[in-house]
């Protein structure tokens, strides 16, 4: 699956969505794209994104009205992983 097409779907499900819905919507999208034979890398990315709705909102707020790029999605993952590490340290 081309990155452009993948991003189009991701942006469609995230546009206007709230944190509660994002997780489910991304999971739903992953199921469909898996059936369509999307690369494992993209499926893993969707799985990780579904866990980081707070970070998605943070990144989206920085560029209102604009579509997210692969760099933005990677930034979400980076922030998410950072948050996970922080949580581990706090324990």
């Amino acid at each position: 699956m081309e990155t452009g097409e993948f991003l189009k779907y991701v942006n469609v499900v995230l546009a206007g969505s709230n944190r509660g819905c994002m997780e489910q919507a991304l999971k739903e999208l992953r199921t469909i794209l898996k059936r369509r034979g999307a690369e494992q890398e993209k499926l893993d990315l969707l799985k990780n994104l579904a866990s980081f709705s707070l970070q998605i909102v943070n990144v989206m707020e920085k560029k209102p009205g604009e579509e997210l790029t692969m760099e933005d999605l990677n930034e979400v993952i980076r922030q998410g992983n950072e948050w996970v590490e922080e949580m581990k340290r706090m324990r």
């Binding site: 546009a15 206007g16 969505s17 709230n18 489910q24 739903e28």
Partner: protein, 347 residues
Amino acid sequence: MDTYLSEKYSILDGTLIALRTDETEVVIPAEVQGHRITRIGGGSCIAKNATLIRVEDGIREIGNMAFCGCTNLKKLILPEGVELCEKEMVISPLLKRGMEVLIRRKVSREQYEELLRHSFLVEGGERLVQRSEALLSVFQGVLDGFAGVRRQLDAHTLNSLMPLILDSRMKALYFVEYGGILGELSFDGQRERLNLDGPAAPSEEKEIMASQRRELVKLLLKEMPEGLYDNDSELFWDQKIRNHNKIYPNKLMLVRFQEAGVEERDGQVVIPFRLTVEKAFYATLVRIAYANKRYYVLRRNFLMGKKEMPILREDYLEEVYDETGEPVSEETRDVVLAKYLLAAKIL
């Protein structure tokens, strides 16, 4: 592979992955511009202004939390035969938010007769359905949703509610909520056990509950103002237990249907069910004078919408207590209840 992306609907391979609209009344069609929708995807619908959503026939499945972005939704109309039995909650979160769900379900003639047997007429000509095997078979998916929340509760919270959960005589399908949904109840003697700490022996369990309820009644008796007591009256004073929500559950899930709306089709019966979770279940302690003594009847009310509805049935009455908060003998109980029913013009 079928793809349709527009401002309002986005569909991938028959699944609605995004619905974005500002409309107040929304119809989700089974087809958009020649693209079929058979499933409403999880978390897909963002319709903040929508108060009513009607899902058209042909849509067979609804994903988890599909409508969680419809924060003002009051009524959801689902087609007959739509699949709700997901692993996680589908419509239970909506019910918990006070929404009304209308759904037509097809049942066999035998199931319908069982539902009729396990239901009774309430205001507005609707039948309120009690827990029964037939009802469980129709709404298992919804019940599973509630069960999912139940598992998250800690035993301490549950125990504090046990007096009210067990031993009631109310005959309807309920779910009790305190913070979250606590557990499924039936008050027809077939109740499901709430076993967070493992099963307890039934007699032991009953004994614990009875003693906790006695404590509650004693507490209420202390709060009852003396001045309102009048020896010449039959029915004295209702101590509403509204301020005891910490120990009294306050929400019920009710399943109702209008007999007039029932249709027979191909040897099966289609029932238009109405599901709601309502703030409900107030308890009332009623003081009764009999043979120069005071007795207290613990009665249950519930709310139909905003209207408080006393339960006008003898078998809904709870135990009778004496002035010290101890339950009275069965013989005294029967007399006091009869007196109460007469006084309340229930008989």
